[in-house]
């Protein structure tokens, strides 16, 4: 055979120009898909959702339409899990994705990567649906809320170990209540699967021995990032926690269902820690207050005792003299030694009084001045224990460890204890 004969019988390359060079359906669809994807970028498309369908693996299929046209959409589970709720039929949405061709069927469609309803539509929808359900079950009832422990020893913190929220909580607790044991139960606080991790951490935290309360927290973030705190799994775990839960999610304006179900909501992680940890400085103030009360009580007892002793000391010589007079009369000159005996007895009595008074001084609140306290009195020596007793311009003494100060009141400020 010649070269020319060879060329005559060789199949020609399909180019679609003649029946002999017709291309395959597969090649057509593949080419169309390439063409589309090479020339049309990923973009946002607005329309109304219809025929929403969820497949078993979690893929969503739907049609987006307006008054003139419609396009099929597929939203694969790997992206669709972010949806807070499935949209309702007829809902206006915008989808972001790739216009492409489903090669097997030659069907034009959008592979959706994100879907957003107008405004916060879907988030609000999901929030409202679950909120309604929780309310019906009574989980939002204020009567369900448990009081926080007034003096916790052990506190569990459920949050991300790498978040700023944990840092805030720890620094507030260290400052206010350094005695508290803090047990950190790490969990992811955003993203797919976070709700399940939060539930597991809450269950662990609530079951730890001796734990008085749990702080569930994370810092601020986008609605989407905070969403796991609106998921039913998280919310029910908060409601089911064995010990009281303080919840602080995001910023003050963000309100999540986890916070609404918690025993107490705090605006920020730091505030949550403040609600849990008593302030050591305030406790010291209470102790100082108690020491003043004790001092005042003892001072009053001492004053009462002194009064009795003085009365006794005043009355005794008189009654002794009277008795003596009577005795003299009776003894009629025979009892010359008696007055000496009475004087000695009196002397002994005075000695004992002095000893008691010395002991009182040693224990008196004035001894506690050595600790740095001051005692204010008026010029008559009466204790000034309240700002009500200070008139502007009035003079008073301030007794300190090593002396006293003459002072004048400039102005007073009353504080509610």
């Amino acid at each position: 055979m010649t070269d020319g004969q060879m060329a005559l019988f060789e199949p020609r390359k399909p180019d679609g120009r003649t029946p002999d060079t017709a291309i395959s359906v597969r090649a057509l669809n593949h080419g169309a898909k390439r063409l589309l994807e090479d020339h049309v970028p990923d973009l946002w498309v607005r329309g109304e959702v219809t025929k929403w369908r969820v497949s078993r693996p979690g893929h969503r299929y739907f049609t987006l339409r307006d008054d003139a046209a419609s396009v099929d959409c597929v939203f694969f589970a790997g992206d669709a899990w972010r949806l807070p709720a499935d949209p309702e039929d007829g809902m206006e949405v915008a989808v972001f994705g790739r216009p492409t061709l489903y090669e097997a069927q030659g069907r034009f469609q959008i592979v959706v990567r994100r879907l957003e309803a107008t405004g916060d539509g879907l988030w609000r929808l999901a929030f409202e649906r679950l909120h309604r359900k929780l309310a019906e079950e009574g989980l939002l009832d204020p009567a369900r809320k448990r009081p926080l422990p007034s003096f916790p020893r052990r506190v569990a913190v459920v949050t991300s170990r790498s978040g700023a929220a944990l840092h805030d909580v720890l620094s507030v607790l260290r400052r206010r209540s350094p005695w508290i044991d803090v047990l950190v139960c790490h969990c992811r606080v955003q993203g797919e699967g976070a709700a399940l991790e939060i539930r597991r951490a809450l269950q662990t935290a609530g079951g730890l021995s001796g734990v008085d309360a749990v702080i569930l927290t994370r810092g601020g973030g986008a609605t989407e990032d905070l969403w796991c705190f609106n998921e039913e799994v998280t919310v029910r775990a908060v409601a089911g926690c064995q010990v009281p839960v303080v919840c602080a999610i995001g910023h003050e304006v963000d309100v999540t269902l986890a916070e609404l179900v918690a025993d107490r909501r705090a605006q920020t992680p730091s505030v949550a820690a403040e609600l849990i940890g008593p302030d050591a400085a305030a406790l010291r103030d209470r102790l100082d207050g108690a020491s003043l009360v004790l001092a005042r009580g003892l001072r009053r007892s001492v004053a009462r005792g002194r009064e009795r002793l003085e009365r006794y000391a005043r009355d005794l010589p008189r009654s002794m003299r009277a008795a003596l007079g009577r005795a003299r009369g009776r003894l009629d000159g025979h009892g010359r030694d008696l007055p000496r005996g009475v004087r000695a007895a009196l002397h002994r009595g005075r000695g004992r009084l002095r000893a008691v008074a010395g002991r009182l001084d040693a224990l008196s609140p004035l001894a506690t001045l050595a600790r740095g306290y001051g005692v204010a009195t008026d010029p008559e020596g009466r204790l000034l224990a309240s700002v009500d007793r200070f008139e502007p311009g009035s003079r008073f003494h301030l007794r300190l460890r090593d002396g006293s100060v003459e002072a004048t009141t400039d102005r007073t400020r009353k504080e509610t204890p």
Binding site: W179, I180, D181, L283, A290, L294, G297, S301
Partner: protein, 87 residues
Amino acid sequence: MSDGDALDFEETLAELEEIARALDRDDLGLDEAIALFERGIARLREANEWLETASGRVEEIIATSSGRIETRPLEGTNGDETDGDSG
């Protein structure tokens, strides 16, 4: 916070309040008053000392795959820096 230095702070405060009330009684004898005062001062000293020294631990809870709970010091915090009895 170790168990050894456990002090019931609230109980101490309640006891102090009770002592203060007792000291306020008019029929209180001097010896009794002094004894109450001494007891109160001792309680105050204990409570103040506890406040100065009590220090809690900061630990991370790890749930193992077998379901056991383990603790370890939290990395990146100074939680056990002032902890006299960690371990």
